[in-house]
């Protein structure tokens, strides 16, 4: 149990307004960090408020378990297209993420480069700021430019601007079928070359990963989703595009299983001292994979996202990254979890934070 277990938004507002000192916000407790102070859980705020499959939109209370939401969507043949990563396994925790937590950390998986990040699917938020004020922004419709977009600002703010209480988001139809092309034995450079070739083709792909450390040898996997006829056609075209490499294929079930493993970060050694997530442009990926000091890991987003395992002393930021590196698990006492920002950007970000949480109480230490 947390120190505070509110079941309504109003209660959260009261707690924040009437308490003092730091507060650590807990969703499913799967974000892999602990913050100082009393804990406040959102898990009592549950329930799907509205779901219109024909409009591709859902509204849910922030503490609603992700699993429940995915089950409800599944029944209507829909899904969260941004495919949030499941960190449970690598963080060694009972994983029970909430939908609010997913958006609070802008948790986006393998389909990100094609269909967008969590932030691109979030349509509206209700939240309580660091002074106990209840606020809303955005709405439940897909196109909305009314006023400033605080929805995106809140998404990925790791609870430092407010406690999310309700989220409205866009859903998408599940694909009828999927298949994956597997290329064998490629170097990281070759893999990124192959993956960017696919991404830059008209044959829409929805996943592109390279697993250099796979026990069966380096593997590059490309996912194709859609209607049966279209998938067959695109697989054929992509095979031609990649004819210089040794290929095999995963059928629907095999492909689903493979990408499920990616979603749970199964290729990463959960016992390693540190796990890093590095975001760069795809063609910078191979150099990072090679020189950042990782002992294992894989590339996602066609090379633009590197998941790396490392010793506690390794800091990939030392090599100078044109992008950013986040320490997912590891020695956050000695290395900051978040990539230091350019001083000017950091200064403006801090000022924004002070506006929403003037005494810096919410998730203290995060993103600072």
């Amino acid at each position: 149990m947390s120190d505070y277990n509110p079941t309504t938004e109003a209660e959260i507002a009261d707690i924040i307004a009437q308490s003092q000192g730091p507060l650590a916000i807990q969703g499913g407790g799967t974000k892999g960090v602990t913050c100082p102070g009393k804990t406040i859980s959102t898990q009592g705020l549950t329930g799907i408020v509205n779901y219109e499959p024909g409009a591709l939109t859902m509204i849910a209370k922030a503490g609603t378990p992700l699993a429940e939401i995915e089950a409800v969507l599944d029944k209507e043949g829909q899904r969260l297209a941004f495919e949030p990563v499941d960190f449970g396994q690598v963080l060694g925790q009972q994983s029970d993420p909430t939908i609010g937590g997913v958006f609070a950390i802008n948790n986006s998986g393998s389909r990100r480069f094609q269909s967008g990040a969590a932030r691109d699917f979030l349509l509206g938020v209700r939240f309580v700021d660091g002074t106990g004020q209840i606020l809303k922004n955005g709405g439940r419709v897909m196109k909305n430019v009314t006023g400033y977009d605080l929805v995106k600002l809140l998404c990925g703010s790791w609870g430092t601007l407010g406690v999310l209480t309700e989220v409205a988001f866009k859903t998408l139809p599940k694909s009828e079928t999927q298949r994956s092309l597997v290329l064998h034995g490629l170097t990281s450079e070759q893999a990124v070359n192959a993956m960017t070739r696919c991404v830059g083709s008209p044959f829409e792909i929805s996943g592109a990963v390279h697993l250099p450390f796979d026990p069966s040898g380096a593997k590059t996997v490309i996912r194709i989703e859609g209607f049966e006829g279209s998938v067959a056609y695109r697989v054929e075209q992509l095979q031609k595009l990649l004819s210089d490499y040794t290929q095999s294929q995963l059928d629907d079930a095999g492909s689903v299983a493979f990408w499920n493993d990616i979603r749970t970060l199964a290729p990463l050694d959960g016992h390693s001292q540190a796990i890093w997530k590095v975001s760069v442009k795809p063609t910078d990926g191979p150099a990072i994979m090679k020189s950042a000091g990782f002992t294992g890991g894989f590339m996602d987003w066609s090379g633009g996202l590197i998941w790396g395992t490392a010793a506690a002393s390794t800091n990939p930021r030392d090599m100078g990254i044109n992008g950013h590196a986040t320490l997912i698990k590891g020695p956050t006492e000695t290395i900051s979890k978040f990539h230091p920002e350019a001083p000017l950007v950091a200064a403006y970000s801090n000022k924004i934070r002070q506006k929403f949480d003037p005494s810096g109480r919410l998730n203290q230490g995060l993103m600072a």
Binding site: N137, V141, Y148, S157, P173, G200, M367
Partner: protein
């Protein structure tokens, strides 16, 4: 429409300010002759006009920074401007302001197909971004109807959309990074060729901030390979309800068309008279477009046509070739022009949950009778973004006011059913005073706090977006 009274102390310093600006800009980049500043007196919302005190046309980010430092020093209001096609009055000047136009900054700085990005100066027009890459098979997805004229600068400021955003998203979903000059004249880089921000998503707030946070001079945009082909179908129905139901059934079936456009009877009649596209005379018409190879297109169209048939369409027309496809789009593309032939019109832009479509159209019909003004509806049905076009006569005293009152009622209706005031055109001055309908004081205050951070003296485009009463204290504090 109220605008704050211009500050006469600033206008009195016009000559000195112009001289200071000339110290940092080439002579021809500073415009002070009233005959020439008049060119900047309005944007696409031409019912409202006011020439600025001065206009400046910088060629580099560094020049923009120098301009901002000077304006900041003398507390001169600045209104950033792209191509001036805003339909919300976003680029409307005040008499004491400097128009900062980025039109001369229109270069392509980098194209990188491997990483699927293009970096451009923001004065570049939307269509010429695609123009720079289409020979290589690529395109920039957001496609506002004004794309021939509007600039990426304005697209970012308004978070503009277009007919194809159902599949590809709006500007915000296709923007990876910006270079921005702050009010203090600092040059700031946010985001870049990689996906997703490291810290707070400032890019997300800058996009759609209507020129109130900083002057965006460069942008890194996501580009995509062109699809192999695209083809539309046209379907006619004898009720709006049925057409609305058909839209939601198509979406539920898992087909994701690139566009679903809707026109109602008044609009169909007007475009027929104007463009003669051969549309059926029916209550509601849908144009649905899908993309892919020939076989992929057919696979999707078969599913869509199946669904449409279940709703007893009065007409179902599949384009067999490029010519027929063009004819299907012809009426839709000339809809605004057609309505303009009948009379002056005001174009609204509210969004509603798709399920509320029939109710909202019915209410708009009732309101049309109450106000005694005709209205046609043409809009992006897939995402509920409506564009009611209210016809009025600008030369008839009181008609514009009546039209605005009617428009306000429609927008309130959009909010009432769970939608919003504007889906893609922005708030500007046009919807400024309706913001209280959608947001509480606290909600608006939260947004204004962001402006406080970037523009503590409220110099940038200050009289827009927020109801003047709400922003009064902030605007006059400095």
């Amino acid at each position: 429409m109220d605008m704050p009274a211009p500050n006469s102390e600033i206008i009195a310093k016009k000559a000195m300010i112009a001289a200071r600006l000339r110290q940092v800009l080439p002579d021809r980049a500073v415009i002070e002759d009233p005959a020439e500043t008049r060119a900047y007196e309005c944007d696409g919302l031409s019912a409202y006009r006011c020439p600025p005190m001065l206009a400046v046309l910088p060629s580099t980010t560094e020049e923009v920074a120098e301009i901002m430092k000077i304006c900041n020093e003398y507390n001169v209001p600045v209104v950033p401007r792209g191509s001036g096609t805003s339909l919300a009055g976003g680029a409307l000047p005040t008499a004491d302001s400097v128009i900062l136009g980025v039109a001369r900054m229109n270069g392509v700085l980098e194209t990188d197909y491997d990483n699927r990005i293009i970096r451009v100066q923001t004065g570049r027009t939307n269509l010429s971004v695609t123009g720079a890459i289409e020979e290589d098979g690529f395109f920039y997805a957001p496609d506002p109807s004004s794309q021939l004229a509007c600039a990426i600068a304005g697209n970012i400021a308004m978070n503009s959309g277009g007919a194809h955003c159902l599949k590809y998203g709006v500007t915000s979903n296709n923007l990876l990074g910006v270079r921005m000059v702050t009010v203090a004249g600092e040059i700031m880089d946010i985001g870049g060729a990689h996906l997703d921000a490291a810290g707070l998503d400032l890019l997300g707030v800058i996009c759609g901030s209507e020129g109130q946070i900083g002057v965006v001079t460069e942008a890194t945009l996501r580009i995509l390979h062109k699809p192999e082909g695209a083809r539309p179908v046209l379907m006619g129905f004898d009720s709006n309800e049925v057409a609305g139901q058909c839209v939601s059934d198509i979406i539920k079936a898992g087909v994701l068309p690139v566009a679903i456009e809707f026109m109602d009877r008044p609009c169909i009649r007007a475009t027929e008279a104007f463009a003669g596209a051969g549309y059926p005379d029916c209550e509601a018409l849908l144009i649905v477009e899908v993309e892919g190879s020939d076989a992929e297109i057919q696979e999707q169209l078969d599913k869509i046509l199946d669904i449409a048939r279940r709703h007893n369409p009065v007409e179902l027309r599949e384009a067999q070739d490029a010519d027929q496809a063009a004819r299907i789009w012809l009426g839709r593309k000339s809809a605004f022009g057609a309505m303009g032939q009948i009379n002056d019109y005001m174009c609204l832009d509210g969004t509603i949950p798709v399920s509320e479509l029939p109710y909202v159209l019915r209410r708009i019909g009732e309101l049309s009778k109450e106000f005694g003004l005709d209205v046609g509806n043409v809009f992006h049905a897939g995402d509920g973004n409506m564009h009611p076009l209210i016809l009025y006569n600008a030369n008839k005293p009181g008609d514009l006011e009546k039209c605005e009152a009617f428009g306000a009622e429609i927008l309130k209706l959009c909010v009432e059913v769970g939608g919003c005031l504007t889906g893609e055109h922005g708030v500007g001055i046009e919807k400024r005073d309706l913001m209280n309908v959608q947001f509480s004081e606290a909600d608006l205050d939260a947004q204004m706090k962001i402006k406080d951070v970037f523009d503590p003296k409220w110099l940038l485009n200050a009289a827009k977006v927020f109801p003047l009463a709400n922003s009064q204290a902030r605007r006059t504090a400095a």
